[in-house]
Amino acid sequence: MPIIKSVRRLGARTIGAIWRLGYATRFFALTLMYSGTSFRRFRLTVRELFFSGVMSLIIILVAGMFVGMVLGLQGYETLKRYGSESALGSLVALSLVRELGPVLAALLFASRAGSAMTAEIGLMKATEQIDAMELMAVNPIARVVAPRFWAGVISMPLLSALFSAMGVFGGYVVGVVLIGVDEGSFWSQMQSTVDFQHDILNGVIKSFVFGVAVTVIALFEGYDAPPTAEGVSGATTRTVVQSSLVILMLDFILTAFMFRGD
């Protein structure tokens, strides 16, 4: 009976997905539990900070600049209709600090650093490096996974802040330098409307949450990847797709809690 077969398949898939979610949660808990090494031997984390954070700088800065420039251009076009071009600074800064900075930086981080983490750990597993470590009585979660996790969590808010700063600069270049919006009102409007706690701190919280989500997904997918070429490539794809969806979903939930229409 084809119907029974489909129901059975659906059931098997659901159970499989729940198992994986359980494994991922356990993996996350173990990562936190074995995080001591990441701080006791902080240079392990610094090395990963370089690979995931510093190496993502170029893409984050360039993307931030262009997003800010587009915001400046589109924002000016819209605000001009209502005669409030002077509010361009607020529009650019608020859009970036509250939403675009954390979300876009996280999406770029997932594609640049998250995929690299998955592929690296997946290949380490496929070439038996993880097994070798385990048999040398070195815990791979403490030695390989946790430093990468903390590097991701630390670098995400910093990258997001740099994205927003470059975006504001891009908006300034287009709005003030190229279009000619008054420089004084651009900066003063921005200064008076952007609130540290309400806007900046909430943006930082968002990027911290995204950092946790992206790195956990990337590391788990790598650690759980079947040790074959196909397995690693599938895991890398899943990292980017799942991270992107989770970032956007979490962004909605966090926004709903932080800025509910006020």
Binding site: Q129, A132, E134, A137, V138
Partner: protein
């Protein structure tokens, strides 16, 4: 277990889901000896090593190393035991993001607080022992297959383990590297006073160096003895294996249905 036996395997059964891999394995690995576990690919040889290393737990029976039942140890006890073991993986499993030096120094740094000057001396001594002094600044990608295997060997013996396990150490090596690795395994075993277990299907190379051989087929031991016993064995499977014959108890053809029927030549 006599104190002369370092590793004792008793009635070990193991199955993946419902597929049996090991069926009632009994083995003894005496201290100071070099013992080979031979058999066809996929017969369960590596699974035996994984049981000794505590990566897998037997569904029945036990593995004792140095008087302790491996699957009864907690994580701390298991790690304590693994520090006394070394394992050489089939393709070396070197850490590709570290230099040769850092690879060999890895365990020493992880498990001791020795100052860097002493670590350096130890690393150089281990590299010298495998004939690769001078390669310390190279990356694993710059090494040939045979060299990578020797660096991995240096890493394996970095902390002078009492038990060294080799998983297919001869796979994919040229004839010179084959002899070098074979002789190194024998010499290191004797020089370190260690016990070695070599899992391999390379009959000619391993019979030159080992003290004792276990033959495994389909998850069970089908023959055992010294190298001379094996060469002279009348057991059909061992004979086919030692002489590399195409047909015998291990058939050339994959077991399948009737061929002519498959071609629709027979009703």
């Amino acid at each position: 277990m006599s104190s002369q036996t370092l590793v004792e395997i008793r009635d070990v059964n193991f199955a993946y889901d419902s597929r049996p891999i090991l069926k009632g394995i009994n083995m003894d690995f005496p201290r100071g000896k070099l013992v080979a576990v031979m058999g066809l690919s996929g017969c369960g040889k590596t699974t035996i090593l994984r049981h000794i290393g505590g990566v897998l737990k037997p569904t029945k029976g036990y593995v004792k190393v140095d008087g302790k039942v491996i699957h009864e140890l907690d994580r701390g006890g298991l790690y304590e035991m693994r520090r006394k073991m070394g394992m050489l993986f089939q393709f070396g499993a070197l850490f590709t993001d570290m230099t040769v030096y850092d690879n060999v120094a890895f365990q020493i740094r992880e498990h001791t607080d020795l100052p860097e000057e002493i670590i350096r001396d130890l690393v150089m001594m281990k590299l010298r022992a495998v004939g690769l002094y001078g390669t310390q600044d190279l990356m694993p990608a710059e090494l040939s297959g045979g060299m990578a295997r020797r660096v991995a060997l240096a890493r394996t013996i970095a902390l002078d383990p009492m038990l060294i396990m080799y998983d297919e150490p001869f796979a994919g090596l040229d004839p010179i590297s084959l002899t070098v690795v074979g002789q190194l395994i024998r010499r290191l075993n004797d020089a370190l006073g260690a016990t070695s277990i070599v899992v391999t299907h390379d009959i000619q190379e391993s019979l030159k160096i080992v003290d004792y051989v276990y033959f495994v087929s389909n998850g069970a031991i089908i023959a055992e003895g010294t190298a001379d016993d094996i060469r002279a064995s009348g057991e059909a499977f061992v004979h086919q294996f030692v002489h590399g014959e195409m047909d015998g108890p291990i058939p050339f053809h994959y077991p399948a249905g009737d061929y002519q029927q498959g071609l629709n030549l027979r009703a």
